[in-house]
């Protein structure tokens, strides 16, 4: 950069050759090369992220027939869809359901994943591979397919779970017919599907904690709980927060499980943002309003991401 600045004043004195050489010089600049090299990535980002996002925002401002902006009563022109959503009880129910679903599913996935990782970590290396492979299976099957299997197990007519309950003498459960049970079912399936991801991440993190730290803690007087609390968890804090953030994003935007298992029912009480957006936008044919629904995920996730990533950066600076 400094070289560019010092050569710049010379250019006007050679007007003839100036054009060609300044082009050459431009091409040779480090910043120019840097820009050129980032172009492929920029194209991908623009094509796959910026354009759809921008188009989504644009869509959300249109009216139902997409002939013009959606007028608002008290919000400015173009924000009419949001106004209607704000006033819609169903929408707020969906927002709540999305948050409850995402938060409880992520917490459960993290806990189950951590527990599994811990169990795996303590079985000898030979058996570990076999178990690890088996425990990863739920994560490998396409969720639409495995959810169908679960749906079968929950189905009131054929429910194998209810059949088992009957054998043991536990009362029948209306898995998908009652709103809390239906919500629980969705969470169960999501945890079943997503916990292996946490497990594999945490297993890697557990393996990276030096054994001597545990030995030092044991000698320092820590019980196994205290070792978990003061050594394992702080050492894994970054992995935990990044996986939680990642999973929160994916879970928040979850679509297939709700769509296959309950299709939002009973009475739209199990819809999450993505399935509701699909319902409103595609099934009911109001694409702009569907776009408005899906845009609501963005600010919530952005705030989460900000705090999580800030913590990660801070810890990285201090410890690594």
């Amino acid at each position: 950069m400094a070289a560019d600045a010092s050569t710049a004043p010379i250019m006007p004195s050679a007007p003839n050759s100036g054009r060609a050489s300044s082009l050459q010089r431009l091409a040779r600049r480090r910043s120019t090369i840097a820009v050129l090299m980032t172009i492929p990535l920029l194209v991908v980002l623009i094509g796959l992220v910026a354009y759809p996002a921008g188009y989504g925002i644009y869509l959300s401002t249109l009216n139902r027939r997409m002939t013009g902006f959606m007028e608002g009563e008290w919000l400015p022109n173009g924000l009419g869809n949001f106004e209607i959503l704000f006033e819609s009880e169903t929408f707020w129910a969906v927002a709540w359901q999305s948050c409850i679903f995402a938060i409880s599913a992520v917490i459960l996935k993290a806990l189950v994943g951590f527990w599994l990782a811990h169990m795996l970590h303590h079985i000898p290396a030979k058996g570990q591979r076999k178990w690890r492979g088996m425990l990863l299976v739920p994560w490998v099957i396409p969720p639409a397919l495995s959810t169908l299997g679960w749906w079968w197990m929950f189905d009131p007519a054929y429910s194998s779970i209810n059949w088992l309950f009957q054998v043991v003498g536990i009362p029948q459960v209306p898995w998908l017919g009652e709103k809390w049970w239906a919500r629980l079912s969705i969470i169960i399936v999501n945890v079943w599907y997503g916990a292996p991801f946490f497990m594999i991440m945490y297993l890697a993190a557990l393996k990276s904690v030096p054994e001597q730290l545990y030995e030092a803690a044991a000698i320092d007087g820590a019980t196994s709980w205290q070792r978990l609390r003061y050594v394992t968890l702080p050492m894994m804090a970054n992995i935990i927060s990044i996986t939680v953030l990642f999973s929160l994003i994916v879970t928040f935007a979850n679509y297939d499980i709700v769509r296959v298992l309950t299709n939002g029912g009973p009475r739209d009480l199990t819809h999450v943002f993505a399935s509701y957006a699909f319902q409103v936008g595609i099934l009911s044919g109001n694409i702009p309003r569907g776009a408005a629904v899906s845009l609501f995920m963005f600010p919530i996730l952005a705030i989460c991401a900000f705090f999580v990533l800030r913590g990660v950066t801070r810890r990285n600076k201090e410890q690594m």
Binding site: A216, A217, A218, M235
Partner: protein, 366 residues
């Protein structure tokens, strides 16, 4: 503070490796004992069994008179310093040191007092707020020691605490450890494979080899009266020369016949001791520092020996000279002023009052 005693300790790892093969050891209160030996001889295993990090296959370990075989590490009241320090990377230096006290529910003020005191002893007060990442190797080493000191445990255990430091710092920290022990006076078991560390630090040195104890004794005792060929060769640097020899009776005195026709007189004081071995093949052991240049000082108990240098290594304060004696390597430590040249005969004297004879079949020092 407490005594530690090991009774017939055996450790067999799964897979059948016997790392420790039945050792007995008594360590007194306040004593600084160093376990030394070559790599893989079972030093760390022994230390880790005292710490409770490794199960004992058989035998008893007691600390302060209590058998601790089934007591977990946290209830043994010991502190350990690891080779790679094992500091908690997410805690500040202060918290690293305070951690053990915090878990033991000491009052805040007491924790603070002890941490500050340890930091003062170790000269790390300005580092208390830092994270281990921001410390040098030597500073980490001090923090690891601080973590042990604040606990005021019955026993300190060190597992090669200096081997990750560079040579200069190692010497400095060695002195530091000795100073700290003189201040806090806690019973200490220290593992190293460096015999210089062992000699300089220990009240008593325990020489281990292949899972057994070869000899236990104060450093000087091991140096002057090694019990086995292994100890004789292990203690001292460069190590002792072992030369095949034959003991011969010669009119009331004994003589050693070495290769190349060299004959050395055994001092009269040793005659009775070696009498029974007359006529037998033995190994003649003599340290390089007892094979010196022929200076006209007190010549009692010395024997002249002439050799041709193979390699000459000037070290500054002394010169190491290596010879070949029928396939046996022999070295001597000479005054740097000695005019030695490769291939030219050099007359030396052997200090026979420092000699050793070793039975080549049992490897015992006679």
């Amino acid at each position: 503070m407490a005594q530690v005693s090991l009774r017939k300790i055996v450790k067999a790892y799964e897979g059948g490796v016997q790392a420790v093969k039945g050792i007995d050891l008594d360590i007194d209160d306040h004593e600084f004992v160093v376990l030394v030996g070559p790599s893989g001889c079972g030093k760390s295993t022994t230390l880790r069994m005292i710490a409770g990090l490794e199960e004992i296959t058989s035998g008893d370990i007691s600390i302060g008179g209590t058998v601790v075989n089934d007591i977990p590490p946290r209830d043994r009241d010991i502190a350990m310093v690891f080779q790679n320090y094992a500091l908690y990377p997410h805690m500040s230096v202060y918290d690293n040191m305070a951690f053990g006290l915090m878990l033991r529910k000491f009052p805040k003020a007491e924790i603070d007092r002890r941490v500050k005191e340890a930091a003062r002893i170790l000269d790390i007060t300005p580092l208390l707020d830092r994270k281990p990442k921001a410390l040098s190797g030597g500073q980490r080493q001090r923090v690891a020691m601080g973590r042990a000191i604040v606990r005021d445990p019955k026993v300190f255990l060190f597992d090669e605490p200096l081997s990750n430091l560079d040579a200069k710092l190692r010497v400095q920290m060695r002195t530091e450890i000795k100073k700290v022990h003189q201040t806090v006076n806690t019973t200490t078991v220290y593992v190293t494979h460096d015999q210089v560390e062992a000699m300089t630090l220990a009240d008593r040195v325990v020489v281990m080899n292949h899972g057994i104890i070869e000899q236990v004794g104060p450093p000087q005792e091991l140096y002057h009266n090694p019990a086995t060929k292994f100890v004789a060769g292990f203690i001292g640097s460069p190590s002792m020369n072992f030369i095949p020899a034959k003991v011969e009776q010669a009119s009331g005195a004994l003589r050693l016949h070495l290769p190349q026709g060299i004959v050395l007189d055994v001092p009269a004081a040793r005659t009775a001791r070696y009498q029974a071995h007359a006529g037998k093949d033995v190994l003649f052991g003599i340290r390089p520092e007892h094979l010196t240049d022929d200076k006209p000082t007190d010549k009692s108990n010395t024997a002249p020996i002439t050799l041709k240098p193979d390699v000459i290594e000037p070290m500054g304060m002394e010169t190491l000279v290596h010879f070949k004696l029928d396939g046996t390597e022999v070295s001597a430590r000479l005054d740097p002023a000695t005019p030695a040249a490769v291939g030219a005969p050099l007359s030396l004297i052997a200090h026979m009052d420092q000699m050793h004879l070793i039975d080549p079949t049992s490897d015992k020092v006679l």
